[in-house]
């Protein structure tokens, strides 16, 4: 069976859940091989084996973390040549997409981004599902040239633990000088919020202009559910919440089990980032707000009254 390369999405060896989802998808298409690039390989090995990586290509060097995208694309291009994989999977994050873009040109291979599902089709062809035009359409696509390169949206499948051999492969790669053209020269780490990462979270609670700048009720409700906190662009532009928490076309795309929008009207650009959520709840003063067209459950009311009451009830139910 052919290998399927999965580019490990990690932060200093802390493997992100999306990687485990991709390993699960890779098993449908062939034998999963994890490709780890950057620092922290040792910390990652165990979980990669637990989720079915048969092979492990490790390229451990802090150097990779100092350059933007291009060196990682070179590593993958060399592996595509040596391993002839059935497909290459990576996360549909800005970085994942850019690596995929460069890899696509280097290997003359078709690229599909933002897949929400990937299946083995007839004759082994890789068949993807995308949700496009702000969730209005579902598209099935295939790659017709080269090695299918697919970026997969987080939360697309439930990761399944299956033990893999994770046999380490020694492969020499070379990185060109040209790939080192864009350098990271300074890094200001963000303070951790203690809440789950937005794109990985099972539940996301977001606030908009309706919060009038007070996110405390949003955060308390989110914490009662162990949720991540998001924001509309109006809230971000007003400086109430950081841009990295923005949900939508120019922010993050999330597809959690549950999305709660409080004081958000539901503009098309916001929908583009949350419409694929499994269950949607809205709290809004205005019963005409377009967000109510999407909801499974909605409360017409003041978020400052509804959320604290709900938070208390949830905390009580948890005991």
């Amino acid at each position: 069976m052919a290998e399927v390369l999965v580019l490990v999405d990690h932060v200093d060896g802390m493997v992100r859940k999306t990687t485990l989802e991709m390993l699960t998808i890779a098993r449908r298409l062939g034998e999963p091989s994890a490709v780890f690039i950057g620092a922290g390989l040792d910390a990652a090995k165990e979980v990669l084996a637990q989720y079915g990586a048969e092979k492990l290509y490790g390229f451990e060097s802090a150097d990779y973390d100092d350059y933007v995208v291009a060196p990682k694309a070179e590593v993958l291009a060399q592996l595509v040549t040596s391993a002839s994989p059935a497909a290459v999977l990576m996360t549909s994050s800005p970085e994942g997409k850019e690596i995929a873009g460069r890899l696509s040109i280097k290997t003359e291979s078709g690229l599909i981004t933002d897949a929400v599902d990937v299946q083995a089709g007839e004759g082994g062809a890789v068949r993807t599902t995308q949700s496009v035009f702000a969730g209005g359409y579902t598209v099935q696509a295939t790659v017709t040239k080269g090695t299918p390169i697919i970026t997969v949206k987080p939360n697309s499948v439930a990761p399944e633990a299956v033990s893999g051999a994770a046999v380490e492969q020694a492969v020499e790669v070379s990185i060109s000088e040209g790939a080192k053209g864009a350098r990271i020269t300074d890094r200001k780490p963000r303070a951790a919020t203690g809440r789950p990462e937005l794109t990985e979270a099972a539940i996301v609670v977001s606030g908009g202009r309706g919060t009038a700048g007070d996110f405390s009720k949003i955060e308390e409700f989110a914490d009662s559910l162990g949720a991540a906190v998001g924001a509309s662009r109006a809230a971000v532009d007003a400086g109430w919440y950081p841009h990295t928490s923005q949900i939508g076309q120019t922010g993050k795309e999330v597809s959690p089990q549950l999305y709660v929008a409080a004081g958000i009207s539901g503009a098309i650009q916001h929908r583009a980032g949350m419409q694929t959520s499994k269950t949607i709840i809205a709290i809004n003063k205005d019963e005409e707000a377009p967000i109510f067209e999407l909801v499974d459950f909605g409360v017409v009311g003041d978020l400052f009254k509804v959320l604290p009451q709900a938070t208390e009830a949830v905390n009580k139910a948890k005991g």
């Binding site: 800005p94 040109i105 078709g110 598209v139 080269g146």
Partner: protein, 265 residues
């Protein structure tokens, strides 16, 4: 400094977007189109750099480049009204149905024909396909460093410096010119065309190139040459109408009940 800004003409996001049933491509003719809003930030960034550089707009040029149908000329017009110096429109029947790889090929050849710019600017993603990959593909084809998703951009001599706000850190990225830079909607506030700008735009040069002008074979782009294929599309069924309650003092309790019933608690 010579700056090229890549701009895309897209169907209006407020319109009902759909596909052509005959070949599964995006319907770009049946709906109103416009300059992709996210590319306005790239145009503004280019204009600001030209204005700030030694010699100002008299010596630093901003050329906008688009690949698209006849109506894409509207996107160029808007950019010229904002203040860009010149426009290049690559238009050819054979381009219809091009995928991201083919689009980047056409852009790369057009950039070479324009001359070797010091800086290529793009938006963060289009508002229709919204793949966010064309900038990386273009950089790869031109052998340039990519300095992407800039929330802040400065050019200092032969060096470009950006700030990118990532999930775990805010980073500074540096590269030597020539380079490709993509910008986010956090970078600036795009200007509106002034009356003077609108009048001046009428006299600005716009070139229209075919694939042959770029030395590209019609068979190398378009639907038939695409590396990906849309097999089918289905309109998502409208979501079943949910339960909506009006808060009469117990809205929060009802919300919590919904969460418990559906096992979110």
């Amino acid at each position: 400094m010579n700056i090229v800004v890549c701009i895309k003409y897209v169907p209006d996001a407020q319109a009902e977007l759909t596909f052509n049933a005959s070949d599964n491509t995006t319907d770009r003719l049946g709906v109103e189109g416009l300059l992709s809003e996210l590319d306005e930030y790239a145009i503004e960034a280019g204009l600001k750099l030209a204005e700030a550089a030694a010699g100002g707009v008299a010596e630093n040029t901003v050329t906008v480049l688009t690949v698209g149908p006849d109506k894409a000329a509207d996107a160029i017009k808007k950019a010229l009204q904002m203040g860009a110096h010149a426009g290049v429109h690559v238009s050819d029947e054979a381009i219809h149905g091009s995928d991201a790889a083919a689009t980047s090929l056409i852009l790369a050849e057009a950039v070479k024909k324009i001359g070797s710019p010091d800086l290529i600017l793009t938006g963060m993603a289009s508002t229709d396909g919204s793949m966010g990959v064309v900038p990386a593909m273009l950089a790869e084809r031109l052998g340039l460093p990519q300095v992407t998703l800039a929330a802040e951009l400065t050019v200092d001599g032969g060096t470009v410096i950006i700030r990118r706000d990532g999930d775990t850190a805010s980073v500074t990225i540096t590269a030597s010119l020539p380079a490709l830079v993509s910008v986010t909607d956090q970078i600036n506030e795009p200007r509106y065309p002034s009356f003077k700008g609108i009048m001046a735009a009428k006299k600005k040069p716009v070139e229209t190139w075919s694939l042959a002008d770029l030395g590209l074979d019609a068979g190398s782009v378009g639907l038939a040459a695409a590396w990906t294929k849309v097999e089918s599309f289905t309109k998502r069924p409208p979501r079943a109408k949910g339960q909506i309650v009006t808060d009469e003092g117990d809205g929060g309790t009802q919300l919590a009940e919904f969460l418990t019933t559906h096992k979110f608690v």
